[in-house]
């Protein structure tokens, strides 16, 4: 039984025990009902302990791979434009400093036809142990997947903690209702503290592409990984918006975009896109060379 299945079973049994335990609280100690109540309390304590360990383990395993990305967003439009500093979250995906983040959060337009454009400049990646930040280069982007790749510069020989995406096999396929855990990153002002939140898979869509739908209390940033309860990378949070030609006149754009949040790109999709973006396979080399 996998870890998440055990957790699910534990949750169900706890719920059952709680319902019986509440009725048994008035029973004298030492009686059969009293033993049930003690067992329920023990189960709850045990579950709390398991959840705490689960959260802590996830946070401790992956927090050094999470980074804050600071950049200056230059907005160029026919009326002049302006620039301002931004801060988003990302994750290191290779030991030599490749970083993945949301293309939209980095100023991408999601493939929409918009007036003017946003140009991120002066990009710095801040690992937890580096307050000054490390200069980074914007390497590639995929607007329809909402992914962008950066590369940390000038850190020769340094091996970064990372969530390695170079593997080619072994991606989990969660079932409807399965628990998932997400990592969030508070900004530099809050000391880049890592948050662990959880939710459940509530759906799966195949249009515009394969995506897991997560709703509930998951508090993560687009571009950050989402995990199964046993700590495997399930995919990456993203924002999806329709292709421009799929908007009928009068469509409420904001409502469509709002629906496009809380979606998870499966790990395999991100792996394939990453290989193309970084040119680490034949197709990628071709794509990069174009």
């Amino acid at each position: 039984m996998s870890h998440w299945n055990r957790s699910l079973a534990l949750n169900l049994s706890t719920a059952l025990l709680m319902s019986t335990g509440l009725a048994a609280t008035a029973a004298p100690a030492g009686s059969e009902s009293g033993n049930d109540a003690a067992a329920a309390r023990q189960a709850r304590t045990s579950e709390r302990g398991a959840l705490t360990r689960e959260y802590q383990q996830l946070r401790d395993t992956f927090r050094d791979a999470l980074v804050t990305i600071r950049f200056v967003m230059k907005i160029e439009d026919p009326m002049g434009g302006f620039a301002g500093e931004n801060e988003i979250a990302g994750v290191i995906i290779s030991a030599d400093g490749a970083v993945l983040c949301s293309n939209l959060m980095l100023g991408g337009n999601g493939g929409q036809a918009v007036q003017g454009r946003c140009v991120p400049t002066d990009i710095k990646v801040h690992p937890r142990d580096c307050a000054d930040g490390l200069d980074a280069r914007f390497v590639a982007r995929d607007s329809e997947l909402d992914l962008a790749w950066l590369k940390i510069q000038a850190a020769p020989g340094r091996k970064f903690a990372c969530i390695d995406l170079t593997g080619t096999t072994g991606a989990p396929t969660p079932q409807l209702g399965e628990r998932v855990l997400g990592l969030g990153l508070m900004g530099r002002y809050f000391g880049q503290e890592v948050l662990v939140t959880e939710s459940r898979v509530v759906g799966r869509t195949h249009k515009p592409r394969d995506l897991y739908v997560i709703r509930g209390a998951l508090d993560t940033d687009p571009g950050l990984p989402v995990f199964t309860a046993d700590g495997q990378v399930l995919g990456f949070a993203c924002i999806q918006s329709p292709d421009p030609q799929e908007f009928a006149p009068g469509t409420n754009y904001a409502a469509v975009i709002a629906r496009g949040r809380g979606l998870i790109l499966p790990l395999q999709t991100v792996r394939m896109a990453t290989r193309r973006a970084l040119g680490t396979d034949e197709a990628g080399a071709k794509a990069v060379a174009q």
């Binding site: 301002g84 607007s143 071709k286 990069v288």
Partner: protein, 423 residues
């Protein structure tokens, strides 16, 4: 002074004193990321500054060296020393700036001491070149080489395909695999690699293109196509997606106040320009800038600058750098505007050197005119005589009148440029 008051005539003595300027000299320090103004007595009073000397920072560019310094410089700060050398006036700050930006061996960091609301603050500023790097292009994916519209049931019935739906080809781009494979406008794609492709409404308008993008670059696709009432299979090689206008490389020249971008496949298609037409497309032109006064317009395709061929943003940059070195009186642009070529020309006012000039050019020009940035005592006297706030000979008022003159001169719609003055 003799004057009359209540029928009485009286005489008094008035001692004149030098009229101080309201606003000090202004300059932009691009490499350091701020603009600044010489502190004047009035400025010091108005801003409750501690001293009547130094240089007041008036704006800081976001993300620039001044904004990134720790602590960052802010508008309202008064710079009073650079690398331990006192700065009492604008000329001193300009000298310090040019000495550093034109000297590769100068230390990378600059120690700036400034006054902020009575506090003496020190910071280090790390100069950097103005690196407007274009964001990377999209990852190339597979592309079919056609444009389509969804054919929904109502339309399908009108086109003689009742009960079918698919994607009707509206354009077969020239020089593509689709054109070679014989796809035609009016063909309706109803299947891809044996799978049915059927849009259910406009919300599926990009379904075919999306399915194609998931296939391998340079792979083979088999399309099921309705043509003249028959269904047939057409096999064709996929090709990489083409660069769009959004991804095109861009270049902006601050002296000519001109923004251009590279020509894309789709620009050629829309304008019916052949593959051998090369140049850069004008995107933005400041109407009172050198290029704008010279008659360049958004949408122009620049083919040559001062006789030098322009093929892309790199050759565009090189051509402008060359003319900036040579500083000719007149610079001709050969542009393609629609189907016609035009020859607008600019006549830049090279002197005095602009604030936007490249550091190397600035250094050269300053070497040639060593006192250029220093306050000219005669000029100061002239301005004083005209009173506070009076326009300098090369001030904005002059620029406006120059622009107005130029606009009038260019209103006839001829291809000729006019004199352009840079302030």
């Amino acid at each position: 002074v003799t004057y009359r008051r209540d029928e009485d005539v009286a005489t008094t003595t008035v001692t004149t004193e030098k009229l101080a300027r309201d606003r000090g000299e202004e300059a932009a320090f691009r490499g350091w990321g701020f603009t600044a103004m010489q502190v004047t007595p009035k400025l010091a009073r108005d801003n409750r500054l501690n001293a009547e000397e130094g240089v007041l920072i008036t704006s800081v560019s976001a993300g620039g060296p001044a904004a990134a310094a720790q602590p960052p410089l802010r508008p309202g700060d008064v710079v009073h020393s650079i690398d331990h050398s006192p700065v009492r006036e604008m000329a001193g700050l300009l000298d310090a700036y040019h000495a550093r930006v034109s000297n590769d061996t100068a230390p990378r960091e600059v120690l700036v001491e400034f006054d902020r609301q009575g506090q003496d603050v020190v910071t280090t500023l790390k100069p950097k070149p103005d690196d407007d790097v274009d964001p990377p292009r999209e990852i190339r994916k597979a592309w079919l080489g056609v444009a389509t519209q969804p054919m929904l049931p109502d339309l399908a019935a009108q086109l003689g395909y009742p009960g079918r739906s698919g994607f009707r080809i509206t354009r077969v781009y020239p020089h593509t695999q689709a054109a070679e494979a014989g796809l035609r406008v009016g063909d309706v794609v109803v299947g891809l690699n044996g799978e049915k492709i059927a849009p259910r409404g406009l919300q599926d308008g990009a379904l075919l293109a999306r399915q194609i993008r998931r296939l391998d670059l340079d792979g083979i696709a088999t399309l099921t196509v309705l043509r003249d009432g028959d269904e047939q299979q057409i096999e064709l090689k996929l090709e990489p997606t083409r660069v769009t206008a959004d991804e095109a490389r861009r270049e902006r020249d601050l002296d000519f106040e001109l923004g251009v971008r590279e020509l894309t496949f789709f620009d050629r298609d829309v304008n019916r320009w052949d593959e051998d037409v090369q140049g850069v497309l004008v995107e933005t032109v400041e109407s009172a800038g050198w290029a704008g006064l010279g008659g360049l317009r958004p949408g122009d395709l620049i083919l040559r600058i001062a006789g030098q061929p322009v093929r892309d943003v790199v050759t565009f940059r090189a051509a402008l750098e060359d003319v900036k070195k040579r500083q000719p009186e007149r610079i001709e642009f050969l542009v393609l505007r629609g189907a016609r070529t035009h020859l607008p020309y600019a006549e830049p006012e090279w002197s005095p050197a602009s604030q936007h000039e490249q550091p190397a050019v600035a250094a050269q020009q300053r070497a040639a005119r060593p006192n250029q940035h220093k306050t000219d005592p005669d000029q100061a006297r002239t301005e004083d005589a005209r009173g506070p706030g009076a326009a300098k000979p090369d001030s904005g008022a002059s620029a406006q009148s120059s622009a107005a003159r130029s606009g009038a001169g260019n209103s006839g719609g001829t291809d000729g440029g006019v004199g352009a003055r840079k302030e």
